[in-house]
């Protein structure tokens, strides 16, 4: 069975290592914060100027001055820091953030990502995504394997305007964990009960399958 959004977030949470500074994008990536493994301490960075995102606030705790990059109200953990946007992107551009998790419309087998614009239909802007993908040490994309029409989002070449080139290292979808290698997509894990064949059919780009592919442990 393919994973739901929380399943994708749970699998990505397994990539977190003790001491990581992590930037989580809007959507599925935000959910990763709910599944940080026990014994692993990570600090979440929000590009609007917060290091140390806490839980959502109670009604009484809500502060209009304290939001995340998705403009949702949040809290700050004890030991958090606030700063301006230039300092925030110095953390990102300077390579101080260990892991970036973000969503995407499309990823190519060379690690290109498209996530910010659908010409003629939707223009919301790139926000901080272009800065994040250009500078993060490690980028994981969280997304559905196919779009609403059932078309693959793992492509030979992206069809939509790019956010960044040759930057994505790993993709976690509802069907699989896929790495970007020099030779194309490489299948690492299958979602529980999903066959290699199903994943191949849902992947337009070249998919390398070597040996037995284990199921994800969720």
């Amino acid at each position: 069975m393919s994973l739901d959004k929380n399943g994708i977030a749970k699998r990505i949470a397994q990539e977190l290592k003790n001491g990581y500074y992590v930037n989580l994008g809007i959507g599925i990536p935000t959910l990763v914060a709910n599944y940080i493994p026990e014994g692993v301490e990570v600090i979440l960075q929000s590009e609007n100027g917060l290091l140390g995102i806490g839980t959502f606030p109670t009604k009484e705790e809500v502060s209009a001055d304290l939001i995340n990059a998705g403009k949702q109200t949040v809290t700050a953990i004890p030991g958090a820091a606030f700063f301006d946007s230039a300092t925030s992107f110095a953390m990102i551009r300077g390579g101080h953030v260990d892991l970036t998790v973000l969503g995407a419309f499309e990823v190519s087998e060379e690690g290109d990502i498209a996530s910010w614009k659908i010409p003629g239909k939707m223009v919301k802007g790139m926000g901080g995504a272009m800065d994040l993908v250009a500078s993060a040490k490690n980028i994981i994309v969280a997304m559905q394997h196919t779009n609403r029409k059932g078309e693959s989002k793992l492509l030979k070449k992206c069809s939509l305007p790019l956010t960044g080139v040759s930057c994505v290292k790993r993709i976690v979808t509802n069907l699989a964990v896929v790495d970007i290698t020099e030779n194309g997509f490489k299948l690492i894990e299958r979602a529980p009960g999903v066959s290699v064949e199903e994943i191949k059919n849902a992947t337009e780009g070249k998919l390398i399958v070597e040996g037995d592919i284990p199921e994800m442990k969720i």
Binding site: N48, I67, F89, R93, D112, V123, D131, A134
Partner: protein, 230 residues
Amino acid sequence: MDKIVKNAQEAIAEIKSNSTIMLGGFGLCGIPENSINALSKSDISGLICISNNAGVDDFGLGLLLKKHQIRKMISSYVGENSEFERQLLSGELEVDLIPQGTLAERIRAGGAGIPAFYVPAGYGTEVAEGKEIREFNGKMHLLEYGLTADFAIVKAKYGDAYGNLIYNETANNFNNMMAMAGKITIAEVEELVPVGELNPNHIHTPGIFVQKIFQGKDYEKRIEFITTRD
């Protein structure tokens, strides 16, 4: 060294049509509400606005968009505003979308007297079109230019007559850099306190960057997405 003006109307009195204005805030967090309301009640038009976002339909910069007072927006993210999207798609509004970190650094550089610099963000995308590209340490970078404005309008939690400012929580965002990059910087504050009361160790924006300051009133501090755990 008293930079205090009476209110928003007095603070924006010098702003003329076709000016370039920077406005602080991220979404609706930390926006100069009083000044935006005053601008929306004025006849000023043809503005070029530099702001990370464009407000929502009936609040923040959305108020100026609705009255067609803005000719061009320079922003990084403009979602959650249907009137903005409509004006953009119909060609009524000129829009320059810039990666957020590049926008922040362009403003910081402009205010700090740095005319240009290189960043990796946007390489290989449409953002790179027409820009000088140069390789440093095996990585491709784009030449970007510092940004300044005729006016910068910022909002802080605390301020004093010297123009020293302290922001609250994530309401700092673009305000701190924009204060540096305005030829004339207007600061509105929730609490204007006597000189000497702010702890010099805690000041975010030193007063040298601010030309006018006023005590704001009736802050609505609207929240776009109230999310709670209960």
